[in-house]
């Protein structure tokens, strides 16, 4: 019997993306540049996060025309973002045939109490998380992939590192706890007990873990892979750099050879200006994207 949209089929696509770079693109041309550079998938959106941050206003799902153009331009998987809790946007994206939906804090949240019930969809979802409890709540809702949130559109990797370390440290902590402590941990994390138990037993998330939000150079990619990410999302970092095609290619190579400083040194040479970036201390608390969602 054929079964579609099972957890294994959804999580399976995330497994295929491992060791790869998923790049934000806003046009079919950018999508082709990303594919040519070796991206394992692209994320179709209206504006990259740094422009969303600059422009303000409400950030919504991408125009279906644009999503379809990007899907037609490349053969690699195409992802698109829906607002947190906006299941109607997600239904539209599923109907367009995108390969993955990112329920993303980069867009303006549509619901301040509830995320999308992702089990209701055959398309897989990726969700952001700042810590293990948040990651397990999203997985409990049906997310087939997790990305640490970082702080999108800043070109600053510090929050990505903080969130990734928080997730991996909490996983390590769970894996050494005696079983009688797991229920209390589930309560403290605000996470489903069965998932807490599974993480404690396996020492890893039940889905693939990528890193997002501020990765903008080959060295950044290497850093977060060495810290335990299984791949990276690069948003503004590519197309807000001086030479997008070269930067894109260098980040792809750095992701494969994240453990090889000689290759990293080679690919980091002469890339021109990376995106300018911002110091997080200059970002007021109400402008932080990572605090959206719960």
């Amino acid at each position: 019997m054929i079964e579609r949209g099972t957890a294994r089929v959804k999580r399976g696509l995330a497994e295929m993306l491992k060791g790869g770079v998923i790049m934000d693109v806003t046009t079919a041309d950018e999508a082709r540049i990303a594919e040519e550079a070796g991206a394992c998938a692209v994320m179709a959106l209206e504006r990259v996060p740094s422009d969303i941050r600059r422009d303000g206003g409400v950030a919504r799902m991408c125009d279906p025309n644009k999503v379809s153009e990007i899907m037609a331009a490349v053969t690699i998987p195409v992802m698109a973002k829906a607002r947190i809790g906006h299941f109607a946007e997600a239904q539209i994206l599923q109907s367009l045939g995108v390969d993955f939906i990112d329920e993303s804090e980069v867009l303006t949240p549509a619901d301040e109490s509830f995320h999308i019930d992702k089990w209701n969809f055959t398309v897989p979802f990726v969700c952001g998380a700042t810590n293990l409890g948040e990651a397990l709540r999203r997985i409990g809702e049906g997310a087939a992939m997790i990305r640490s949130k970082g702080e999108a559109g800043t070109g600053n990797v510090v929050e990505a590192v903080r969130h990734l370390r928080s997730i991996t440290d909490e996983i390590r902590r769970l894996s050494v706890l005696p079983s009688e402590q797991l229920m209390t941990q589930a309560k403290n994390l605000g996470a489903p007990f069965e998932l807490v138990k599974e993480v404690a037993e396996t020492g890893r998330l039940p889905v693939v873990l990528f890193c997002a939000g501020g990765v903008s150079t080959p060295a950044d990619a290497s850093l977060v892979l060495q810290l335990g990410a299984e791949g990276v999302f690069v948003g503004s970092g590519i197309f807000k750099s001086e030479q997008p095609a070269r930067m894109a290619r260098a980040v792809v190579e750095a992701t494969t050879y994240f453990n090889d400083p000689d290759v990293l040194a080679k690919v980091s040479r002469g890339l021109g200006e990376p995106m300018r970036g911002v110091d997080l201390r200059d970002v007021p608390a109400d402008k932080l994207l990572a605090t959206r969602g719960w």
């Binding site: 295929m16 491992k18 060791g19 070796g38 991206a39 053969t75 599923q94 045939g97 390969d99 792809v252």
Partner: protein, 192 residues
């Protein structure tokens, strides 16, 4: 080759899942990211992932010639999904795969992710079915003279030609070890 060293091409994709299946069988194994790594192995698994990405890395890190040569000289090789595409000599969208195998393959032939599926697959030589996970899977349009070891909906999904084995699905995702075991015991045994 009593205890062959099995390499897994680790440029992108689910190479870690293959390594852990090999580990569960107790086989010697190592990731392959360069020609140097390739020299150290007796057989190679090419994993699932994005064939476009893997082929670009193969070319940028100058592994194409070495891979083609080793495979043509009889190094046992097992490709799953993207790995099967990489071995083929005719790929639907003109992708420049290694072309070491007279296979015609159509990429993403079932459709996009919404058409990805799982199904029970009867494999020749195995008593129980294998649960096949097909992710944006290719279809083998023409298997040439290859031996067809499993089909799904009248299409070959597991084929073998001398020392080459290709699956359009992912046994490694469920920790399924029988096909890997068959590969090592039947295609890698008796090689120099």
């Amino acid at each position: 080759m009593v205890d062959p060293q099995i390499g897994v091409l680790a440029l992108q994709g689910d190479f870690a899942a293959h390594l852990s299946v090999l580990e569960s069988c107790g086989y010697r194994r190592s990731p392959v990211r360069s020609c140097l790594d390739l020299d150290q192995v007796d057989a190679l698994i090419i994993p699932g992932g994005e064939s476009t990405t893997m082929l670009k890395m193969i070319d940028r890190y100058e592994m194409r010639e070495a891979l083609v040569k080793r495979i043509r000289n009889g190094m046992p090789v097992f490709g799953t999904c993207a790995g099967a595409i990489i071995l083929a000599d005719r790929v639907s969208d003109g992708e420049m795969a290694l072309g070491t195998w007279d296979l015609q393959v159509e990429r993403n032939a079932y459709g996009r992710q919404s058409e990805s599926f799982e199904a029970d697959i009867k494999v020749r030589g195995l008593d129980e079915t294998v649960r096949g996970i097909f992710i944006r899977a290719p279809i083998i349009v023409d298997a040439g003279g290859a031996e067809v070891m499993a089909t799904f909906a009248d299409r070959p999904v597991l084929v073998r030609n001398n020392t080459m084995l290709a699956a359009t699905f992912h046994p490694e995702l469920l920790g399924e070890a029988r096909i890997h075991r068959w590969f090592v015991e039947n295609l890698c045994a008796g090689k120099e």
